[in-house]
Symmetry: C2
Subunit: 95 residues, 2 copies
Amino acid sequence: MKTKRHAKILEIIRTRPVDTQEELLRWLKESGFDVTQATVSRDIKELRLIKTLDTDGRYRYSTVKLENDTMSSKFHSLFADAVVNIDYAGNHCGD
Amino acid sequence: MKTKRHAKILEIIRTRPVDTQEELLRWLKESGFDVTQATVSRDIKELRLIKTLDTDGRYRYSTVKLENDTMSSKFHSLFADAVVNIDYAGNHCGD
DNA sequence: TTTGAATAAGAATTCAAA
DNA sequence: TTTGAATTCTTATTCAAA
């Protein structure tokens, strides 16, 4: 069930701005995933989600692209270590 | 002074793994910036730093790259198109 | 406008337990 | 191995104040 819950979490944060784990929890419950904050915290860690600022200055959970995972060595030198890319491409609903 | 402190914060997190604001605070004090956690929290927000997982599964503050804002066109051509397409496909903005 | 002290709010972890 | 309840830890914000 964890796998399905993870997929649902990704769907939720992709389609709406979610700024706390409690809010994520509520959406999960609407989808039938009745878990607690402790579990959501673990899920977020496993999914490597991060809390970012959106363009309005509000916090929001987002997916990340880790440099190491997605960037070729050619480009590695262009960016500092530990720099990540946040993908806002799918998050235009409120713009 | 805030500007200098911001620069120092970026330097600190670039050169060491920093996993809490308290730890960042201690490094700042070593560099002569004697502020409180409240200020560090604000700094982190202004710098748009994020807490990520490093490869060891430890939390660490990192800088981010906003795809839309800062990615070079060269980089963009290699990676971002696919990302945009994937994310766009999954984004329904009120349909 | 920037900051600190205090507090509220949020998130990670511990410690069973199944 | 996954989870919840409780707890601890961490971070954001409020409310002065300079």
